[in-house]
């Protein structure tokens, strides 16, 4: 018998393998588990080359809910009355030490609960249940940021006390600066800024990561208040990291401006500043450089939720790092690049371009070719004429005054109809487009209605109102490339009906009409008329007489 088995063993093994591979799929089809907001990847940062397993996946809320007393001390140790949100330790102990700690404490607790018959997690021997890459759990956690309303609520909260009693504001409760000389953090009034300026995404030198400090600061305070039965923010992951829950946080509409001595109007000009500081320079403004910009800081502040959208590295003036040639601090990004580069919300032009992608604007702007500087009108922003700065103002107050005057003038002019206007009566009420009529009757286009709606939307938006002040610019949205927008030529003048495609990318007439109208509706999110509802725009022709 043994002879037969040993002779046939390779065959037996082969068949056993083949059948087992067929019966038991190698990848368990990942059941679509719900999105989790509390997923933490535990990976000991030390010595990555020695890692044998992928990161362990840990669901925090699940554990806090199970260990029902919501007491952080179940897993976290305290240092100076504040929880350190590392697991069961105050300091990292290296790969070996921490690995042992995690295995003993995590799996140990699981095993204890398992012995008592309670639902628990995996044991030490079930490595891949924690160190799993295909568990199907998706993290839907959104990053949290403190918006103006939330900041204001913290500002006025009586439960948050400043560091030193007697201070008028409680800013010192959270804001601090790091003093290198004494190697301490301390509060400096007037220098409060965003945590992210120092606390970056990862641990750097002695500066802990933003994730670490944010959780430690916020959660410790919330926990403390909860434990004294006061109303405070949440201590579980979902409440902040679930976008829906975050949106449900009570909002203070029109929270007052953060008091940080920020200006209302700023005169922005690097060369002007250099000229002002230099004693030897003549008092006449240079003809070589571009006109200064009068920047409406107040308006822009009101439009942004966070200062760090523009002030991305610090609250200093842009020119401190973004010099004419770029500096080491700015990674050689020059001032002109910083102000004008597209695709980046930190730059003026970039942020404006992003606004143009919003639904109100995208109808026309998505169809416009991405333009460079050629043809752009720089004086839309660089509006301070040289005569206004002749002679070069000396003190800061004079500077601010020049900027304020210009901003004020612009604000008044916007939407007042100071630019070129076309009388409503001159805009045709309805235009019948029947040049290509074949299967369908001509399309009846409600021209005036559409122009009026767009015009109203523009007036409501300061950015659009500034750049589109005056009807002709708006006309160019559809009547593009026309010399006189008030008297635009027929579309068929340039969009022909040719069998050969135009090599410059111009669509034919049919494509131009449909593309223009349908794309605008799609980008603006207008559901009717639907693109495929042909009869909504042009009815079927009953007799097809050609």
């Amino acid at each position: 018998m043994t002879n037969i088995v040993s002779a046939a063993r390779p065959r037996l093994i082969f068949f056993a393998l083949a059948i087992s591979l067929c019966l038991f799929p190698r990848h368990a089809a990942a059941a679509q588990s719900p999105d989790m907001f509390d997923l933490i990847h535990i990976r000991i940062a030390d010595d990555a080359a020695r890692h044998e397993m992928p990161a362990a996946r840990f669901l925090h809320d699940k554990h806090t809910k199970t260990l029902t007393d919501q007491n952080c001390s179940a897993c976290h140790l305290k240092e100076k009355d504040r929880f350190v949100f590392k697991f069961q330790r105050l300091k990292d102990g290296g790969l070996d030490g921490d690995k042992r700690l995690y295995h003993e404490k995590c799996a140990g607790c699981h095993e204890e609960r398992g012995k008592k018959g309670l639902a628990s997690g995996p044991f030490t021997s079930e490595c891949r249940l924690c160190h799993s890459q295909t568990s199907g759990i998706q993290s839907a956690a959104q990053p949290v940021a403190m918006d103006k309303s939330l900041h204001y609520r913290h500002e006025i909260s009586a439960a948050i006390h400043p560091e030193k009693a007697g201070e008028k504001t409680n800013c010192s409760a959270c804001h601090h600066e790091y003093d290198k000389a004494i190697d301490k953090t301390l509060y400096v009034k007037g220098k409060e800024s965003a945590c992210r300026y120092c606390h970056k995404a990862a641990l750097a030198d002695k500066t802990r990561s933003f994730q670490t400090v944010a959780h430690e600061s916020c959660l410790n305070c919330h926990y403390l208040l909860h434990s004294t039965k006061q109303k405070a923010g949440p201590t579980d992951c979902e409440a902040c990291h679930d976008a829906n829950r975050l949106a449900g946080i009570a909002k203070v509409e029109d929270a007052p401006r953060i008091k940080r001595n920020q200006p209302d109007s700023v005169l922005m000009s690097l060369w002007l500043k250099d000229a002002q500081l230099s004693q030897k320079a003549s008092k006449k403004p240079s003809k070589q450089f571009v006109n200064p910009v009068a920047f409406n800081h107040k308006l822009h502040e009101a439009k942004s939720e966070h200062c760090y959208i523009c002030h991305h590295a610090s609250l200093e003036t842009c020119g401190a790092c973004h010099t004419r040639l770029g500096s080491d601090q700015s990674q050689l990004t020059r001032l002109d690049q910083a102000m004008h580069s597209g695709g980046n919300t930190r730059s003026c032009v970039g942020c404006h371009q992003k606004q143009m992608a919003s639904k109100d604007c995208a109808g026309c702007h998505s169809q416009m070719v991405k333009a460079g500087f050629a043809g752009a009108d720089c004086t839309e922003c660089h509006s301070i004429g040289k005569n206004q700065i002749d002679p070069i103002p000396v003190d800061k107050a004079a500077w601010t005054q020049i900027a304020e005057k210009d901003v004020h003038l612009r604000t008044e002019q916007r939407g007042s109809g100071a630019g070129d206007q076309i009388k409503t009566s001159e805009i045709p009420e309805e235009v019948t487009i029947d040049v290509l009529s074949d299967q369908y009757e001509g399309a009846k286009f409600p021209h005036r209605k559409i122009v009026t709606i767009l015009s109203e939307r523009i007036q409501k938006n300061e950015l659009a109102g500034h750049f589109h002040d005056g009807m002709p610019t708006l006309c160019n949205g559809c009547h593009h490339h026309s010399l006189d927008p008030a008297a635009p030529p027929k579309c068929a003048s340039c969009h022909g009906i040719a069998p050969e495609p135009e090599l410059d990318g111009r669509p034919g007439l049919k494509g131009a009409y449909h593309g223009q109208c349908i794309t605008c509706h799609q980008r603006m999110g207008i559901p009717t008329p639907a693109a495929t509802d042909c009869n909504a725009c042009h009815k079927n022709r009953t007799q097809s007489a050609r």
Binding site: A357, S366, V369, K370, P499, E500, P501, L503, D504, G505, P507, G508, K510, G511, A512, H514, G515, I518, T519, Q522, A531, T532, C534
Partner: protein, 372 residues
């Protein structure tokens, strides 16, 4: 000398390997990079413009005089399922909802009219041919219905008239070859209201596609599908979503389908003609050698047998001779002894008669007989 089976296989393996290695460099398709017949036409499908109205399907149906469909072309509910071209539908429009995209994306699918088509390569009766206009043309009169083209096509396009038992045909987009020859555009291109389809020379279309991607970088994926896939196609696509989200395979590579097989195929005539001769020659030599060896062996054996036999006989003769002489000697000895004994006796008996001893006893004996 013979060649063992193991040795034979060893040589064959080496020969096949070297043949394939060398043959893969000497074939028409791969040494040149075919970029299409000059001036050949194609169609550029701008997926971002397609609205899924299915007018292209209706036009194709009308132009090719196909039977009316069960579900009319203005029914957009069919877009709920992914369809592929079938016997009465040379082209279909499918709807996709890629993640991170608010709106649905529509893609028109049909024969891509590859520059070096797999179906043309697979067809051994030349029913499918690549024409100079760029279209891949099907001739039903040559088709044998093997459906190798359906297996070969990397895009799964050719469809088959399974419902037609007697004269089934392969069906696929024809690029409206008859219309092109009359300087008209394909039916689908004319019908599309959004100009999602552009007809023109392939070089021009690539230029136009590149321009569109450059002009609207936020809209398009930076890839012209069909420019290089499977060696290039006459039907090009640009899209506002990743192609893999639109059921368009990006894992096909840029090697044209014929180049994948031409190495092995080029080896076939060589194998069939030369190898047969050489292998038979080897066999003949081997067999002849064996035969000669056999003959020599027989000869040697016979000779040895003969020699042995001769020697054997000689020996026997010698032994016999020896035996005879010995026997004779023995007999003589005995006779002599007997005579001496007789003489003795005689001497004893007859001492009175004479004093003369009998000297010659022999004379008393009768005539000696000759012994043999």
């Amino acid at each position: 000398m013979g060649i063992t089976r193991r040795q034979f296989f060893g040589w064959m393996g080496a020969a096949v390997g070297s043949q394939a290695a060398f043959a893969s460099q000497a074939k028409a398709a791969a040494t040149n990079h075919f970029t299409g017949h000059p001036g050949s036409f194609g169609v550029l499908h701008d997926i971002s413009r397609c609205i899924g109205c299915r007018k292209c399907e209706a036009a194709c149906n009308q132009v090719n005089k196909l039977p009316a469909p069960e579900i009319p072309f203005d029914d957009r509910a069919v877009l709920g399922q992914i369809r592929r071209p079938r016997a009465e539908a040379y082209t279909v429009v499918n709807q996709f909802k890629p993640k991170n995209k608010p709106a649905a994306v529509f893609v028109k699918t049909q024969c891509n009219h590859c520059l070096e088509p797999a179906c043309v390569s697979a067809c051994f009766v030349k029913a499918l041919t690549k024409s100079k206009t760029g279209a891949v043309v099907y001739d039903a009169s040559l088709c044998v219905g093997c459906r190798y083209c359906m297996i070969a096509c990397p895009f799964d396009i050719p469809a088959y008239e399974y419902d037609n038992p007697f004269t089934p045909e392969i069906t696929k987009c024809t690029l409206c070859q008859p219309r092109i020859e009359k300087n008209q555009r394909p039916g689908c291109v004319d019908a599309c209201p959004q100009e999602a389809l552009t007809f023109g020379a392939r070089e021009d279309l690539i230029k136009i596609a590149g321009q569109r991607i450059d002009k609207y970088p936020d809209r398009y994926e930076k890839h012209i599908y069909g420019e290089h896939e499977m060696g290039g196609c006459n039907w090009l696509y640009i899209a506002n979503a990743p192609f893999t989200d639109l059921n368009m395979r990006e894992d096909l590579g840029i090697t044209p389908a014929p180049a994948l097989t031409s190495g092995a195929l080029a080896a076939v005539p060589v194998v069939v003609s030369l190898w047969v001769v050489f292998i038979n020659g080897l066999r003949a030599i081997s067999k002849r050698k064996e035969q000669i060896a056999e003959e020599e062996k027989i000869q040697a054996v016979n000779a040895a047998v003969e020699t042995e036999k001769g020697r054997f006989n000689l020996e026997i003769k010698q032994i016999k001779e020896k035996a005879r002489t010995e026997k004779e000697a023995a007999v003589e000895k005995e006779v002599k002894k007997a005579l001496e004994a007789a003489a003795q006796t005689l001497n004893e008996i007859k001492p009175a008669q004479t004093t003369e001893p009998v000297k010659n006893a022999e004379t008393l004996l009768p005539e000696k007989q000759e012994n043999t």
